[in-house]
Point group: C2
Chain length 493, copies 2
């Protein structure tokens, strides 16, 4: 392995070495899972001390670029696989929802990237120790049944706990009116499979969660977007759509919406329920952010005021706890739950019983509530850092929402800004966000960005905004944002 | 609580008390999660010693009927929920695949039942300690990423390990040609969503895995059954079907088939691949039992001899390790894997990263192989106990397969035997199996049963067969197997 080190540079040699190795990993010259030379070998080869090589490896390891396994050696990290696409793969690349979901999932694992691209909870605060305790408790009390098959509807103990959890959002449902799902995305997929056929229409907010658009397009269902303003879904637009369309259902995130960060005002909620009743409209409510309120109490769930049983309620623990649990749930009428149970059987039989039981125990012992209590000030701080930095660094013609909860902030750029170029350059400078277009069911001429502030500490959010502010001002000063040479934005994901 | 104890009986009082409580739980008088009186309260109320009550509770607890939580008390077990259906619910009940899947999943949790109904690995040998170690190792080495989102294709480290695992079955595929699924059932669901539209035809073996029939019917896809004899799928029937039909694919379990217990002979495998190539037929191979051979080496996977890339290979760890992992996988051409990745994103985003990484570490350390090595003689012993008991206790006109691997034995009863009646009575006597009709895509006049021998120890299998032998002989002696009074077969599941 040939890595040039410049002994006259002020940069320490170990950092030059780390940078050289990182560059080789990024370019694909050292693919994932490649074994690196031993410390002794590389030190001899380059004529540096072992401490220098050791320090370089430690730096790479702390950045997630390599993994060390005692007794086996040091390897290029497995999780960076797929992050380093060959430049050709980027040519003529379209920002489709499906491609973007894949991108976001991969990009989130790119070491060193300041990522505002993903509505991801803060990993550094994950309550890993209590989670391990809850798993041990579940295994002790449940024994081998925890590793067997379980019912498709889900662990009764968890469903009983969930019945209490949703009561705190104003929703009353018994354990028989709840089904456990593999996250809220899975809830949407099951509901769509139950209520739609190819060619049907579903009404969504515009912008909306792109996983939803992905689900609809994969099933050949047409998504019709209804505008969202600062007070949530525009009810007049819904009313007009209901005169034109016979939608299978309306999908809404009324509380701390993703990606807009907006909550639906109480009067609009009442008007929506009223319209649903008059038109026989089924409303699918995604309450995944409903717990994450940074300014006093969140509004109760839409379903809390649903007298006629038209609202199907969904949520999950991916934002308020940890997404790797892959646990969400649906609350609805028992007949509907029974049908969803059959669909779940025909999808993957059941969610892992150990995770389900451990989650029930985790919640019952108050650990979920105390985790959220601890997180709310952190997320509020991050939201404030993001908004504060935009006020400071962004040109005056850029606008944004100030979310009172959730993870997303919606940024509106001056007309004509080339968002894809901005996205590409930003990634080449180590900052990731999501271009707004992917959240739209129907094309939207306004250039938007989604910034998620949940996964990065305040300083890094400020750095990212400062960097993007510079890019936007360059353009504002008359300089072009044309895409750079392809080689400049490896690794683009 | 009023429970009668007969002090003059030879049955110890604590057992009478346990039986009385069990009866109340079964009848629904004490619903799941009801708190039982304290030992002191019940002892005072019934005028018995505390030791008596304590012994009764311990007996119920060891049978899974109640759960004790230190400091909170003793509760009717949550997992028996749904097992005690009201008798009316059983009237006019049809044995559909969907209903049967639900039944089997619930029945498996019924305390005291000798269950041959479910192709379930032996819970008492689950390698729980090593699994917990692997999870701890995954958490230690992977950190918070193990509780985050991951890629829909699955953990690269697990896919690299799986590439080596399938090589042992003669299949070569790189990590990019593998997708992790939530069990093999999920693999089939994804493949079906990718390759079929409602109204399409899929060829299946008759009998076949009922989860597959469930998947096809939930998607409006027509299943056409092709006969299986003692040497596997009848190739002439496939050839005839290919002249008539244009199937989206053929689903086969060539090795240790469920439910027949039969393996496809080498000549038939070659003929099948030849036909597939000539007719452009896609073959979906389910190799879930391929590791569980009780007589020397299993035949290599069908895909091992697939020169033209027409075979899609699927397997999982539900039978060879533990079903609660909910981890399976598909190996196929990269283009197909990419499409499946998009479908997985539109289903539930990803499998839990912690479970995936822990499984990789579990396999890499040899624990999976040593677990199987330990299990094979156990399962062989159970197979022998089942077959031996049938030889001893069953009337001469009953026939059965002698499976060389897997979990299932296929029993053929004399024409005209009322299988549903037999099923109901057997359950009322504490023995569960699966009526053969549910495994058939098209009605089959022959009365069949599936016995799974994997989940019960030899003595209990012999007891179950003796009991069923008695029932079959009663009928043989001219007595009717008419369904008994409904109250007699509570709890029917």
């Amino acid at each position: 392995m040939q890595i040039d080190v410049d002994r006259s540079s002020r940069e320490p040699i170990y950092r030059q070495l780390a940078a050289g190795l990182q560059q080789r990993i990024r370019s694909g010259a050292l693919p994932p899972q490649t074994r690196l030379p031993t410390v002794r070998q590389l030190a001899e080869q380059l004529g540096v001390t072992r401490l220098t090589v050791h320090s370089a490896y430690a730096e790479l390891q702390s950045g997630g670029w390599v993994e060390a396994t005692v007794g086996r050696g040091t390897f290029v990290a497995a999780q960076i696989e797929g992050l380093i696409a060959p430049p050709e793969a980027q040519l003529g690349r379209e920002l489709t929802p499906a491609g973007m979901v894949a991108d976001i999932l991969r990009m989130s694992q790119l070491p060193g990237m300041i990522s505002m691209a993903k509505a991801d909870p803060a990993h550094e605060f994950f309550p890993l120790r209590n989670w391990q305790r809850a798993m041990e408790q579940a295994m002790e009390s449940g024994g081998p049944l925890m590793m067997g098959y379980t019912t498709a509807q889900g662990d009764l103990r968890l469903r009983s706990t969930l019945a209490e959890v949703i009561r705190e959002r104003g929703v009353s449902a018994g354990p028989d009116e709840i089904i456990v799902t593999a996250g809220v995305t899975n809830g949407m997929a099951l509901i769509t499979d139950l209520l739609t056929r190819p060619g049907d229409t579903v009404l969504v907010e515009q912008p909306t969660y792109l996983g939803m658009l992905n689900i609809l397009s994969s099933r050949g269902v047409r998504a019709v977007g209804l505008p969202v303003d600062g007070e949530g879904l525009v009810i007049e637009a819904l009313e007009a759509a209901l005169r034109r369309e016979r939608p299978a259902y309306l999908y809404t995130i009324p509380t701390f919406q993703n990606p807009s960060g907006v909550s639906m005002r109480p009067e609009r909620r009442a008007a929506l329920l009223d319209l649903a009743e008059r038109h026989g409209l089924t409303v699918v409510e995604d309450d995944i952010y409903g717990r994450l309120s940074y300014e006093g109490a969140a509004p109760p769930a839409l379903k809390a005021a649903d007298r006629s049983g038209r609202v199907i309620y969904m949520s999950s623990f991916s934002k308020s706890l940890m997404p790797g649990l892959r646990i969400g749930y649906i609350a609805a009428a028992p007949e509907l739950i029974r049908k969803l149970v059959y669909l779940r059987q025909a999808q993957d039989l059941c969610s892992p019983p150990l995770t389900q039981r451990a989650l029930a125990l985790f919640i019952e012992q108050g650990w979920w509530h105390s985790h959220m209590k601890r997180m709310l000030p952190r997320y509020r701080e991050r939201r404030d850092a993001l908004v504060g930095a935009m006020e400071r660094f962004f040109p005056a013609e850029v606008r944004w929402t100030r979310p009172q909860g959730g993870f997303s902030c919606w940024v509106t750029l001056p007309p004509g800004t080339a968002v894809t170029d901005l996205y590409m350059i930003a990634i080449s400078r180590g900052v990731a966000f999501t271009p707004g277009a992917v959240f739209s069911a129907t094309p939207n001429p306004e250039p938007h960005l989604r910034f998620c502030f949940s996964a990065e500490p305040p300083e890094r959010l400020a750095d990212a905004v400062a960097s993007l502010g510079g890019l936007l001002r360059e353009r504002g000063g008359g300089r072009s944002l044309a895409a750079p040479a392809l080689s400049d934005y490896v690794p683009v994901v």
